[in-house]
Symmetry: C2
Subunit: 416 residues, 2 copies
């Protein structure tokens, strides 16, 4: 089986200033094409470290994908290093030059600078991969049976090259096995409880199928993976095992596809021809953002009111002034009133309302940081739930959003 190693280059990765999202995306594409990723390595903008990583990774895998370090500025040294590593000299690539000029004239619409022209220079020992999204060309090198592909670190530039050239080219070059995954998402059950429920299933799995548990923010993904050459047989066996697994975790299963909770909710609402709005205090628009991150969300989502202040809760949602004064914003009565006000003012079938204390400040002895009230319902019925988290602000926000969406899912399934 052909395996790949991913090298990401940039000091920003080693001081923690940016989170590496490229590797995950590249790994998805490679896996889909039948090239498992063996390792991912991040190194800084350092001559020795990059050189050593090229040497080492080429011992691990015959396909090395590299991103980063191709910018026009002086801290980016990858291109000149690759030129030296593969024993070439720098030449101007005419197609890349035309592309740089095109991007400045038509897209950026600003005068081009000398350093931008340097973007069109490439080592004469590589095959140039044109960049439709930006100015830095990609480079395909081969040495001692190992393929090295260098791409920009800008996500959408790298993604364009991967889709248009790198994946198709690798698929032509190698006889790739078939890799398949099946993923389902559960909510409301912990990893170890889940493991106990399915321990007999796990033990009885054939050696060709691997089970993984992927917990995140109040949910656990279960993934079955298999690879081989007989696509039909593999898919049939994987599907059978996946059906068994689904029946075992049915009670907690949100979706049997590899999709986020909010997408599953959107599909459920569209199938039932229903609409949703949110009234958010502590999540500050995050639930609305999750829902609207799904393309086509206008089919099921109408509006949100983020009522952060007391005044906004009263003015925009009609929450009772006295209740706020006496009980504070984080209580059952307030989220019920928020949900009712939301249904009335935003005219949807369902509403989600949340109010809580996300931290780090604002907690009291009675209502410590992490206290959250959630109300979910329709014109006939509102259900509520109190939750207590004990994490940092962002994690509390994410957990509140996921729990609220899952409570809505259960409400819709139970109340139609």
């Amino acid at each position: 089986m052909v395996r790949a190693s991913i090298i990401t280059i940039g000091d920003e990765l080693l001081i923690g200033q940016v989170i590496d999202t490229n590797s995950a995306w590249m790994a998805q594409q490679l896996n889909k094409a039948g090239i498992p990723v063996l390792r991912r390595v991040a190194v800084g903008d350092s001559y020795d470290e990059i050189w050593q990583a090229l040497d080492e990774e080429s011992k691990h895998a015959p396909v090395i994908l590299i991103t980063g370090g191709l910018g026009p500025t002086a801290d980016d040294i990858t291109k000149s290093l690759l030129c030296e590593y593969f024993g070439g000299k720098m030449i101007v690539d005419e197609a890349a030059l035309a592309n740089v000029k095109y991007i400045f004239e038509r897209v950026i619409q600003r005068p081009m600078l000398d350093i931008n022209l340097k973007q069109a220079e490439v080592p004469d020992v590589c095959k140039v991969i044109q960049n439709k999204q930006g100015t830095a060309p990609g480079m395909w090198f081969e040495k001692d049976g190992v393929i090295f592909v260098s791409m920009p670190g800008v996500p959408f530039e790298m993604q364009g090259m991967m889709q248009d050239y790198v994946i198709p080219e690798l698929s032509k070059r190698f006889q790739l096995p078939y890799i398949s995954h099946r993923t389902l998402l559960t909510a409301g059950i912990g990893e170890s409880y889940l493991a106990e429920k399915i321990s007999a299933f796990e033990t009885a799995l054939p050696s060709t199928i691997k089970l993984a548990y992927l917990p995140s923010y109040g949910m656990v993904r279960l993934r079955l993976s298999s690879s081989g050459n007989n696509k039909d047989l593999l898919e049939k066996e994987l599907q059978q095992q996946f059906e068994t697994l689904q029946s075992l975790v049915k009670e907690w299963m949100v979706t049997n596809e590899d999709e986020p909770l909010e997408k599953a909710i959107g599909k459920l609402l569209i199938a039932k021809k229903k609409t949703l709005c949110t009234a958010e205090s502590c999540t500050g628009g995050y639930i609305a953002h999750l829902l609207t991150s799904i393309p086509g969300s206008s089919a099921f989502y109408n509006a949100s009111i983020v009522s952060y202040s007391y005044q906004a809760k009263e003015d925009l949602l009609g929450v009772d002034h006295d209740v706020l004064e006496k009980q504070g914003a984080v209580c059952e009565e307030v989220v019920i009133q928020m949900a009712k006000g939301a249904l009335k003012r935003m005219q949807t079938d369902y509403a989600i309302a949340v109010s809580g204390i996300m931290g780090p400040d604002g907690g009291t002895i009675d209502k410590p940081v992490g206290t959250v009230w959630i109300a979910v319902g329709d014109k006939n019925k509102i259900v509520t739930k109190k939750l207590s988290f004990r994490f940092d602000r962002m994690r509390n926000i994410q957990l509140t959003a996921n729990n609220a969406l899952n409570i809505l899912r259960i409400f819709i399934n139970e109340n139609g």
Copy 2:
């Protein structure tokens, strides 16, 4: 200088199912403590790959931090592998056992399972690091002068161990150099234009100070880094260079701290004792989410109306029905009306309003995907801007949010 290597373990990292946020956080903490990160490596839940990574990384660096693979389920093999790697045998750690029992009784409040008890087993050749946030203990090993620390992959569990034990222990063990960074954030100028503006400065920098360009979503961070033993001298020299840099990019500088745009906006509003609301269509609550991700945001942020549907724009913000019918939701007149409606209904000093087509669907020839109208203003004045992006949905949403916040920043600075 003592350097560290980070090994993250988990198949999910190699198939791209999760994005590795742990490495970035760990790198930040290590750098702050004076231990630069040399490399980061991700490997799967594979015996051979983990073993090889331990061997290889210990040749690169004397401190190896490891996360992941410590869960109670069968796919997690890190603990037993480490036991074998360091030639130990498994024993029950009494403190870890008490912690597992405590967490189940007091925090999770569900009966404990047999596999949970296994979490308290550790190799007898490690120093156990107690986990205050979860059930899997951390492990500190030493071999041939190299320190290996294994921690859970759950972010807040790992973070607790790093802060409470690992960083303090490493600081005691080594005489660490002083590392310092200065970061500023620019908006509204591209990386290559910025590079030309400061090329003389960059060339004249002393060899001890490094400049890095970190572009992201319409903004560029500039970072100066230096390390050494004389803290006072280093800080003085770095500060001088940083002041020069600030004066060179003054026109585009959002903040001279390493903080996100939304935090800088929040500080500006708090300093001026002003409040903000948003009226969001295409960003679907994302601007509200950015603002409320800042602790203490209730000091400057009151509310948002996410008016996704036409009906919501009319009902909640008072946008004129005829304008929507004739011109559609993505036009200058609609964002002006949204901003005015927002100021009136949410009673704040400033309002941001956005409407656009984020894709992948919904574009037309006149208004292609990526077309965005932004209005920003107060009761006296509204300014508008039309932008055209050409990216995917999430990137268009992020760019719209950053641009809107930056237009507000400029508006506040110009109009008081």
